[in-house]
């Protein structure tokens, strides 16, 4: 074996740091806050916002016409009463899950690499929950009556049915949205204070100052802040697992073939995290390139996200295989056998097999290390996975509804242009929000990146000079 080859191998196995060497507190602060405070408006940003806002206008048109005419403009009808609206709702809410996983679960597990991507991922969660929440609202067809879903005393003297999973969903999603918002805002407070103190324009300083609420970084403040943050992480962890579980109850508690199964809750949660990490990668890869953040969002982050995708993708594959196994176990005369047969060879066999290719087969290339470290390929694979996860929800919802127990009630579902306009419109809304977020708030948590520096660790004064080895930060190799 030649020496060159050995060196190349060693380079391949090198542990990539979470934060590239050469940073100190001032440089981190300046680099992240200057994206907001100093960087001039770029043509790319303006063009991007204009394009995405045009798509939001299309969403507005579609929704206005919907409120004018009713849900008849969509492709839904009996037997398929849950069309694109519910497919898109489940897809969006699933995407949000990765943000909470990164910010809460990885915080509890003390995974310090999360510090560079949690702000970003939490913003993604919020915007995804916004897009998700839109669908059940407009699916009612009469959104001005949406308050009927909430336990509010009213002149009709009725109350909601608390035994219905659909009502559980109202509580789960609204709690999730609220907690995600306060978690995100709490994480932002110290960074808003940094922006306040660095802003040179008086009015910008006032806006960030008001948002920072007078944060001074007192030791007492930090102590309470850290315990509040830790407790929020602890509360968000079961919450995020409960949200997609409750979404899966919407299906699993009914008696529809293909829905009535106990594997749904874990398999929905895994699928949610799977699609969420795909979205994190799709957003991270361009942002780290455009804003030159490759030293803070390193290949290590991309690789870790790819590993999570691979693991959750395998859980999803287990779910698909288990559905087939259960049908086989129930026997050829069972409705489950028919449902699987209909998926394999029925009129929607195309989406079903596309789902296998997108969700199960393609991501297996993530076993290869060089693919996991290639932003280009990760971007492509993430797009494929997002399409696959959308198809999964399409298969679950449409294929079960269109052919159930009685052949006389069978039918087909075809989305209309209004379905597509609404779906693509929410994609535009999501990307517009991301554009605005990158412009007005720090995309990376500044104070948590400071904590990755060796000099942030306290050691007895005089005993040792600032030294990464004694400061106990082994992941920050190459600091010397």
């Amino acid at each position: 074996m030649s020496t060159d080859y050995a060196i190349a191998l060693a380079e391949e196995d090198r542990e990539i740091p979470v934060l590239e060497p050469g940073h100190d507190m001032a440089s981190i602060t300046a680099k992240i806050s200057d994206i907001v405070l100093e960087r001039p408006l770029s043509i790319g940003w303006v063009a991007g916002v204009m394009f995405c806002s045009a798509i939001v206008l299309m969403l507005g048109t579609a929704v206005t016409y919907l409120f004018f005419k009713g849900t008849g403009i969509w492709g839904i009808n009996i037997p398929v009463g849950w069309g694109f609206a519910i497919v898109n709702f489940v897809w969006w809410i699933g995407i949000g899950h990765a943000g909470t996983l990164i910010s809460a679960i990885l915080h509890l597990l003390r995974q310090s690499w999360r510090n560079s991507i949690n702000r970003f991922a939490e913003a993604m969660t919020l915007f995804a929950v916004m897009c998700a929440g839109l669908f059940p609202l407009i699916h009612t067809g009469r959104p001005w009556l949406a308050y009927w879903m909430f336990p509010i005393p009213n002149t009709m003297a009725y109350w909601p049915q608390f035994r219905s999973p659909l009502l559980w969903d109202v509580f789960a999603v609204s709690t999730y949205g609220t907690i995600s918002l306060v978690f995100w805002y709490t994480g932002l407070i110290p960074d808003l204070a940094t922006l306040r103190d660095r802003a040179s324009n008086k009015y910008i300083r006032m806006i960030y100052g008001a948002l920072a609420m007078g944060w001074r970084g007192e030791a007492r403040h930090w102590e309470r802040y850290e315990s509040a943050y830790l407790l929020l992480a602890g509360l968000s962890t079961p919450l995020v697992l409960s949200v997609h579980t409750v979404v899966s109850f919407d299906f699993a508690i009914s008696i529809m073939p293909g829905w009535h199964t106990t594997v749904f809750p874990p398999y929905f949660v895994a699928g949610a995290i799977y699609s969420g990490f795909a979205m994190v990668l799709i957003l991270c890869i361009p942002v780290r390139a455009v804003y030159n953040l490759k030293d803070m969002i390193t290949l290590r982050h991309l690789e870790n996200a790819a590993k999570v995708m691979l693991a959750t993708g395998l859980i999803v594959a287990y779910g698909y295989i288990l559905e087939i196994y259960m049908a086989w176990y129930a026997g050829p005369k069972s409705i489950d056998w028919f449902t699987v047969h209909n998926r394999f060879f029925g009129p929607y066999a195309g989406p079903y097999w596309a789902l296998w290719i997108c969700n199960i087969i393609t991501p297996q290339v993530l076993w290869i290390k060089s693919v996991r470290r290639s932003p280009f390929w990760l971007f492509i694979i993430s797009l494929v996975v997002l399409v696959g996860m959308w198809l999964e929800r399409f298969v679950i919802i449409i294929l079960s509804l269109h052919r159930d127990f009685v052949p006389s009630s069978w039918g087909m579902y075809y989305p209309t242009k209004w379905d597509w306009m609404t779906y693509i419109g929410t994609l535009g809304l999501f990307v517009t929000m991301i554009f605005l977020f990158c412009r007005v708030l720090p995309v990376i948590s500044i104070f948590e990146i400071r904590m990755l520096l060796p000099e942030s660790h306290v050691h007895p004064v005089g005993a040792h000079p600032v030294d990464a080895k004694h400061a106990g930060a082994p992941q920050l190799e190459g600091k010397h």
């Binding site: 602060t29 336990p151 509580f171 609220t178 907690i179 709490t186 030791a219 930090w222 407790l231």
Partner: protein
């Protein structure tokens, strides 16, 4: 220039600040505060802060949330709007578990944030330390220790000499507005 509100010493690193805070607290100053751009391990202890009530607030919030969640569902389903479905019990508790859980998390989470802010006396737009020019680096890369004039041991000249012995980068008067 109005009355003196305290003296603010500026330090280069977290370790120096912790050491200085410990010395100051041990020397009998109680009304002191340390400022850092990120949470520093052991700094709260160094200035004598031990009573963190945030966990208690969150516990109370969670209990109130759980009672609200179950109470709401019980009252609606069993008392004010009972619907007999196939003779099943009105207080069908397994169906109520999920919303009880969600409201527990909601109340606990909101009380974590609200409790943290309230105990920290935030929002508070004005504070004497903001009058010191170099304090704007407290949220960026510098570490500060403030001895407030309200401390019984405080004496403008004496305390300044004491702080100088701790070798800070600078010492500033904190004017009272």
């Amino acid at each position: 220039m109005s009355a003196l509100s305290g003296l603010l010493a500026e330090f280069e690193s977290a370790s120096e600040l912790v050491a200085a805070a410990k010395t100051t607290h041990r020397s009998g100053y109680n009304d002191i505060e340390a400022y850092s751009p990120f949470p520093v391990h052991g700094l709260g202890e160094a200035i004598g802060f031990t009573k963190n009530r945030v966990p208690l607030v969150v516990l109370i919030g969670g209990i109130v949330g759980a009672c609200t969640g179950y109470g709401l569902q019980y009252w609606v389903s069993a008392i004010t709007y009972p619907i007999n479905i196939g003779g099943r019990p009105l207080n069908s508790w397994p169906s109520f578990v999920i919303i009880t859980f969600e409201l527990t998390v909601l109340f606990a989470g909101l009380s974590a944030v609200a409790g943290m802010l309230a105990l920290n006396d935030l929002p508070r737009p004005h504070h004497p330390v903001f009058n010191v020019k170099q304090f704007e680096r407290a949220s960026q890369d510098r570490f500060f220790l403030c001895v407030f004039a309200a401390d019984p041991k405080f004496d403008a000249a004496e305390t300044r000499r004491f702080l100088e012995a701790l070798k800070p980068i600078s010492i500033a008067d904190v004017p009272d507005e």
